[in-house]
Symmetry: C2
Subunit: 291 residues, 2 copies
């Protein structure tokens, strides 16, 4: 049972975590923290949090668990604001989409990796933002990846692991570098492709005509291009080395594909498409939803 939970950033992710733990009867008191007074007051009205602070230092005081659900670009400053305010055995976890950068932020803010900081990433979300969009079931049957380092306390990992289980999530553990490589492939790169495609078409002279004939497949394909631009800017910066390399590799693949198309290499083209279709059917359609 958590006596006091501090949720830094009471939006979809933070709000849903608070709701789920409250629904599971696993938390006594919840303090919210954020910049928007309106959002925080709404969170109190909705019963997501009990009270709120605008100052991170004040919000974490006396908390035995701190859940950091701010944009990646704000994590370093959040760590800095906690300095001197954390209770001695306070456990901290986060929900950032890139894990190497969050570990670096912690190290740089505190001069070392905090043994009670358990980096985490729930692979869940909708295109909605704000506490209004949060709901207790968001994490049910979704995957959560924890990326502790050597010096992370096993007891802290166990507490964070348990909270996610109470949220209904399936928890796995891996190295931050593997997390960042895997997510670059299945999440960050696809977002770059969707954004870059729509951006390129938007610069065509007859873009109105072009988009008029976009069909359902295009809508599905580009749905992720409606994601939050600031969040994705931060992800790019946080995972820049792995992501830039992957985007370059993909550009090279496309050059080869363009060459095959221009040369009319029917067999090669069919093989690529066949391999993709079979792989997708085996690994994507075949597995249960994980986000």
């Amino acid at each position: 049972m958590i006596k006091r939970l501090a949720v830094i950033g009471v939006g979809l992710i933070g709000g849903s975590y608070a709701r789920a733990l409250r629904a599971a009867g696993q938390v006594e008191e919840i303090i919210g923290c954020g910049r928007s007074r309106e959002n925080l007051e709404r969170a109190v009205e909705l019963g997501v949090i009990d009270t709120y602070r605008h100052d991170i230092g004040e919000a974490v005081e006396g908390a035995d668990l701190v859940f950091l659900a701010v944009p990646l670009g704000a994590i370093r400053a959040a760590f800095e604001a906690m300095q001197g305010h954390l209770a001695e055995n306070a456990i901290i976890t986060d929900a950032g989409s890139v894990k190497g950068s969050v570990i670096r932020d912690c190290e740089e803010a505190f001069g070392c990796m905090l043994p009670n900081f358990v980096p985490g990433h729930p692979i869940a979300g909708t295109e909605q933002n704000g506490v209004e969009a949060s709901f207790a079931e968001l994490y049910q049957n979704r995957r959560v990846i924890l990326t502790p380092v050597c010096q992370t306390n096993e007891s802290a990992i166990a507490v964070v692991h348990a909270t996610w289980r109470y949220c209904g999530a399936e928890v796995t553990r891996m190295f931050a570098v593997d997390h960042d490589r895997i997510l670059a492939a299945t999440s960050h790169l696809p977002h770059m492709l969707a954004y870059a495609l729509v951006d390129m078409l938007a610069r065509m002279d007859d873009k109105e005509e072009v988009f008029r004939y976009a069909a359902g497949g295009f809508r599905d394909f580009t749905r992720i291009a409606s994601s939050n631009p600031v969040m994705w800017r931060d992800i790019c910066v946080a995972n820049k080395d792995q992501l830039a390399t992957l985007v370059e590799d993909f550009a090279t693949e496309l050059q080869l594909l363009a060459t095959a198309i221009r040369a009319g290499e029917q067999q090669q083209l069919e093989q690529i498409f066949e391999n993709a279709r079979n792989t997708r059917e085996r690994f994507v359609d075949g597995v249960k939803s994980s986000g």
Copy 2:
């Protein structure tokens, strides 16, 4: 009223066209043509067609309207098989996803563009195939693009236009070259990106691990990579010049994007994402479904 309609290729596209015209009471007799006896007999059972032939020449004899719904790679041979069998005033239309190549196929098979051939493309479809998947409402509120040439008879265009209106579709007209450029941008290129992405990830050593963490966004984004590989091989060949150029252009965009990511160009990245999101919301989410 059409006295005899010949549907060459009785699958989702051909079957749905036949069903819709029958439902609208616009056709007396429907002859199906295809290779699979099983599929054709099922089509008769379902009332989609009245009778069938395996030979295209026999199927088109006496037909006043021929609907060509075979894969792009089979269109040239279908035109050749019609030679000497078409009724004098027979009108022909097709459903190919690329229009320039279909016009060339007609010219090469007949030595000239048939004045009663009206090239067309219904922007509709599902991931299902075969006559079982066909339904009379497939084309309702979908767009159909006709791409006649200078020598195409206006009376033939009017007949084909009317049949699509009876199917519930919205019909527009443009030059084949414009059709092929627009569809390359909104359909062919996205398919190439989805296929190439899944194909690249399928070659990663830890692909099982990678796909395990693919979330809902990835599933939507790659849905079109489950499309028919042979159909897409044919589309690549048929639209190779426009498509290869576009794939190359997109590869160049990605190189620039990778450079911006590596350099941490936050402002530039945010601008690209913002532009994409705004454009998508304005032109894609804002318009009614057209496919």
